[in-house]
């Protein structure tokens, strides 16, 4: 019995080999090359060292770009969560046909290119866009507000563009919650808010964390939306890397920024993961 079980395991490991090879060739190797590149002291590679890292970490401007990028991710994630939770809740609590419609609306953005979605936001936020036209027609403002090419615009657009990443894990988590629990809670005298805070929120925590993790990672690396809605004067890490590599051909510095960004993102992801493990323990006793 033990023997046959062992052979099954080894078979499964062998099955994973193509994927492992794929990862090594197309992920690990480029990463190592990137790291080696980042150790060049100048673009020609005449000498090596950690100079590029020292330059980045010693520069308030560069650290500011890193900080504002990570902070942008926080804002987008919070907004996506606040907007996405009710959608996920609605989906879980709707009858069958409405579930289908809501799911379609949630998934629809995934079926269009992120460029298309982002251009839609340019149309919405522009001077003659939907928001400004409406505000002027309502007589609330006289001159159009500057919405496009502002950080608020970037946050709103990113939150919408990445919304499916937030809503889908939330739907999974919420639909795994027994609907009787909410009924039991109200039967015991709890109002809606208490039921939400004490029962639904803790039990949906794994979904919240998974959604936040995906949204955060997608938001801070969203080069297209960041640059199309944010414009050229708002610098976040992806554009910073692009600028150094593409416009300046300073590959070593671009590589170093990439590695630093990667480490920063991994740190945030690890925090989410730890929280996720804690919440799973919490949610399932």
């Amino acid at each position: 019995m033990a023997g046959s079980r062992r052979s099954i395991t080894s078979y499964e490991v062998r099955l994973a080999f193509p994927l492992a090879l794929f990862f090594v060739v197309f992920f690990l190797t480029p990463l190592v090359i990137l790291f080696i590149l980042s150790l060049r002291s100048d673009p020609q590679g005449t000498s090596h060292g950690v100079g590029q890292y020292v330059q980045f970490l010693g520069d308030a401007f560069s650290l500011g770009v890193l900080g504002s990028t990570l902070w942008l991710g926080v804002k987008v994630t919070v907004l996506a969560l606040v907007l996405g939770y009710p959608v996920a809740w609605l989906h879980v609590r709707s009858p069958g046909w409405a579930k289908g419609v809501i799911m379609l609306i949630v998934l629809l953005p995934l079926l269009t290119s992120v460029v298309v979605r982002t251009f839609a936001w340019i149309v919405i936020l522009g001077r003659q866009g939907i928001v400004n036209t409406m505000l002027i027609d309502l007589g609330l403002i006289d001159t159009p507000l500057r919405l496009l090419y502002t950080e608020t615009g970037v946050v709103v657009a990113l939150a919408q563009v990445q919304m499916p990443l937030m809503v889908l894990p939330l739907i999974t988590a919420l639909s795994r919650i027994d609907p009787n629990l909410a009924d039991a809670s109200s039967m015991l005298g709890a109002g809606h808010w208490r039921t939400f805070r004490k029962v639904l929120l803790p039990l949906s925590l794994p979904g919240i964390l998974a959604g936040c993790l995906l949204t955060y990672a997608a938001a801070i690396t969203a080069f297209i939306t960041q640059s199309l809605v944010g414009g050229g004067q708002m610098l976040f890490m992806p554009s910073y890397i692009y600028q150094q590599a593409s416009a300046l051909q300073n590959w070593p510095f671009a590589a170093a920024i990439s590695i630093i960004f990667l480490v920063a993102v991994l740190a945030v992801v690890s925090i989410f993961n730890v929280l996720g493990r804690l919440s799973r323990g919490y949610a399932h006793g």
Binding site: F61, I122, G231, G232, M234, N250
Partner: protein
């Protein structure tokens, strides 16, 4: 020979690899690979340059592989001894980088039929310039009723919150900065007045686009009414019904040479030469000058006509007096410092 599983696998892998990386078999003979730019460049080259090349070489194989200048440089750098590209197309900044990195074969000037007919600025031995790009002022004629005449018009109070520029990642943005520095007594080596002027432009700035393509969107959305703009890009917008006009400012339009180069160690040196010759020929240049391409010719044998004659210059002498060329060797030396400074200072 015994056929076993391992043997089959090896064969399959080899075949698979050859399929996945057809370049492996290209070492002997492959079509000429021309890395043009994407978009209207590719369209123009496919429609005009490629047929001319085929005619001149009795149907030699050619592949257009449009990509950014930086991508061309990195691809060739990755395989210097057997480059995957034979002919490169570059803006002035990247051209100098490619030359500095030793990726460029000198152009066989003495064998060229057309080189001597080019305007002097286009006669570069490292790679001639078959086309110009021209940067002037773009405006929305619906909202800007008096056409602008000078770069200085961008600072007019009436354009508060209506001006768009690009950042320095683009040739356009960098060229514009150099030009306004010159306007205020600076030069390629003294950019300080340019940054000062940019600072004073801030109240008028509505948007700093990440690339010139974004400016088009901003015009379409009514986000900006006036900006520095590329002549060719504006013609495309106009053709699509966007209300935009282009004028050359009285200080002169900024001209960028787009240069074409034979890649060092290319296995198709002769075909590459023939392609460039076709690009320099008056026939091709005259055709590319017409609608819808409107590409400024550099061969003096081409008679200026159409929209180009109307908006830019009636002949090559006029062109030379109206165009401003910039010293990109000097610009390249400091461009990274400028970009860094722009990153820090230009926030709206």
């Amino acid at each position: 020979m015994q056929l076993n599983r391992r043997h089959l696998l090896q064969t399959a892998l080899t075949l698979g690899a050859m399929h996945a990386f057809p370049g492996i078999t290209w070492a002997q003979a492959r079509p000429l690979v021309f890395a043009t730019f994407t978009g209207s460049w590719e369209e123009a080259h496919k429609a005009v340059l490629v047929p001319a090349f085929r005619k001149a070489t009795s149907n030699a194989d050619i592949v257009l592989d449009p990509m950014l200048s930086v991508d061309q440089i990195s691809k060739i750098n990755a395989a210097k001894s057997n480059p995957p590209i034979d002919v490169m197309l570059h803006d002035p900044g990247p051209a100098l980088q490619a030359i500095a990195q030793g990726l460029v074969e000198p152009y066989p000037v003495e064998r060229s039929a057309h080189f001597k007919d080019l305007i002097p600025a286009a006669q570069e031995a490292t790679g001639p310039s078959p086309f110009f790009q021209t940067v002037g002022l773009t405006y929305n004629p619906d909202t800007v009723t008096t056409p602008p005449t000078s770069w200085a018009d961008l600072w007019k109070p009436e354009f508060k919150n209506r001006v768009g520029i690009t950042n320095l990642n683009s040739t356009l943005g960098t060229g514009f900065l150099v030009e306004i520095a010159k306007m205020h007594g600076g030069s390629e080596s003294n950019i300080e007045p340019g940054f000062k002027a940019l600072d004073q432009l801030k109240p008028n700035l509505s948007a700093v686009a990440a690339n010139p393509g974004q400016l088009a969107t901003l015009f379409q959305q009514g986000q900006i009414d006036i900006s520095p703009g590329n002549f060719n890009a504006i013609q495309i917008l106009k053709a699509r019904g966007v209300p935009v006009e282009w004028v050359a400012p009285k200080e002169g339009a900024i001209a960028f040479k787009t240069t074409i180069h034979i890649v060092r160690n290319s296995p198709n040196q002769e075909l590459a030469f023939k392609l460039i010759e076709a690009a320099l020929s008056p026939e091709v240049q005259a055709q590319l000058m017409e609608e819808p391409y409107l590409i400024v010719p550099t061969n003096t044998k081409v008679r200026m006509g159409g929209e180009i004659a109307k908006a830019l210059a009636k002949d090559h002498a006029d062109m030379l007096s109206k165009f401003v060329f910039q010293d990109w060797a000097k610009i390249n030396e400091q461009r990274s410092a400028w970009i860094e400074r722009f990153n820090r200072e230009i926030r709206i």
